[in-house]
């Protein structure tokens, strides 16, 4: 229960930051994608199932506020959480290379799919342009934010795991 509340707060804070603060501090009219960091970080830290649920709720939040169809971003982020969960076995907290790589991959995959569904299907063929001017800057910005946000999420997760372990050992 404690974990659910904490994760919920993390998602909300990241969403609010993304829509307010980072919308104001845009570099080249690009803002970072904080929710993808949350979804994929919890994916590879906690496994497929939790990644899936956290991804789903991140996406749902975006869906509700995008004013479009409910379910599109939910689906996308859910799969991102799930696939990141597959890397739990090779994840070590001290090593930042894997998280960076996974989050970068998630961000690119997410944007590719958005491009495919929302732009390519409407005859916007300039993939190079969208890649260079939208996906790549977002990727770089997101990577920079990952370095900060990842360690915060990691610390929170370790704290939660320590608390869970303590309360679990009490019952034995």
């Amino acid at each position: 229960m404690r974990r659910k509340i904490v994760v919920f707060i993390i998602i909300i804070v990241c969403y609010l930051l993304q829509t307010t603060v980072f919308s104001i501090f845009r570099f080249a009219s690009i803002s970072p994608n904080l929710l993808i960091i949350v979804a994929s970080a919890f994916g590879f830290m906690r496994g497929k199932k939790e990644g899936l649920w956290i991804g789903f709720f991140c996406g749902l939040l975006l869906d509700i506020w995008s004013g479009g169809v409910i379910g599109f971003y939910s689906l996308l982020y859910m799969y991102i959480g799930y696939f990141n969960g597959m890397f739990r076995k090779v994840f070590y907290p001290e090593d930042i290379k894997l998280p960076l790589l996974l989050i970068a991959g998630s961000d690119i995959a997410c944007n590719m799919l958005i491009y495919l569904v929302m732009f390519l299907l409407r005859n916007r063929y300039h993939f190079n342009y969208y890649f260079l001017h939208l996906m790549l800057p977002e990727l770089v910005y997101t990577m920079v934010m990952t370095i900060f946000l990842y360690f915060i999420i990691l610390k929170i997760n370790q704290r939660l795991e320590a608390i869970e372990k303590r309360s679990a050992s009490k019952f034995v």
Partner: protein, 285 residues
């Protein structure tokens, strides 16, 4: 005593089930043409206050300073000097804020006189769309202030977009520069109609949006001509400035022209908007 092990569904089945749920939700949304419904209302009550909070840190700081001032009124003489400094600083801050507000309101008023025939309500932009692909934003007025979906939104000196979704205390606005948006426009000098459509690529590269289907046989339309919303548009009120033609060329069919329009609104820095409370009258009503 051993606790019964809880039944756990494997992750892949959860994934399958949730995929089904998402797809069903998308289909329902598309078929019934709804977006969220009750979910939106709940989200509105949860998030709008928070977004407002973050966005009004400035005025909050001024409030706090006022509060301090009142507090120091109670604590008397020995902190007299400090109090004076505090209150003066606070006052200075408030005055600066008020001046800023005054300037903005004056701008709005000027705009108000340009479009005198419509009822309008002013609103603040409190949040932008999460991603980078579309330009949608949230404003802090909703049905409680008489706003409905499909109402036109203006700012500065021209058309911003249209209300696409609404809650009691917020409304979502889709900007005309969105890749998916199109507006029926008219060149004021010749009354020729054209279609304006947003373009992410053009907007990012040259800060312009595209137009097409301009029927101008006598080559009377020139670069720089203002384009306003057309009387045949079924969503937009007539005569709202969209922008100025920045380039133009003949289409391959040799009948119509297309080109680009520089929008009249600075979409990068929208803080206040006006929502026109009159909706375009359509035949069904």
């Amino acid at each position: 005593m051993k606790r019964k092990p809880k039944f756990m569904l494997p992750a892949k089945y959860v994934l399958l089930i949730m995929t089904g749920v998402c797809i069903a939700a998308m289909l329902i949304c598309l078929m019934l043409n709804i977006t969220g419904g009750p979910l939106n209302t709940v989200a509105g009550y949860v998030f709008v206050p928070m977004q407002k909070g973050i966005n009004t840190v400035g005025s909050w700081a001024a409030d706090k300073a006022d509060h301090l001032k009142r507090l120091s009124d109670v604590m008397q003489d020995n902190e007299e000097l400090q109090r004076q400094v505090d209150s003066l600083t606070a006052e200075l801050n408030t005055i600066k804020l008020e001046q800023y507000e005054l300037e903005n309101l004056r701008e709005l008023l000027e705009l108000d006189q340009k479009y005198p025939s419509y009822d309008k309500v002013a609103a603040n932009v409190i949040g932008k769309d999460g991603g980078n692909w579309f330009t949608n934003f949230t404003i802090d007025k909703g049905t409680d202030d008489g706003i409905e979906t499909d109402m036109n939104v203006i700012a500065g000196s021209g058309l911003v977009g249209i209300v696409t979704d609404i809650g009691p205390n917020y409304a979502k606005v889709s900007a005309i520069i969105n890749d998916t948006m199109s507006v029926s426009g008219m060149v004021t000098s010749t009354s020729d109609n054209l279609i304006v459509h947003g373009s992410l690529q053009q907007m990012n590269e040259n800060m312009v949006i595209e137009f097409s289907n301009l029927n101008d046989k006598d080559h009377e339309v020139t670069v720089g001509d203002p384009v306003v919303t057309s009387y045949i548009s079924d969503q937009y009120q007539q005569g709202i400035l969209i922008g100025y033609i920045s380039s133009m060329e003949m289409d391959a069919n040799n009948l119509t022209k297309s080109g680009t329009i520089t929008p009249a609104v600075d979409f990068e820095h929208i803080a206040e908007v006006l929502v026109i409370l009159n909706k375009k009258q359509t035949a069904e009503e």
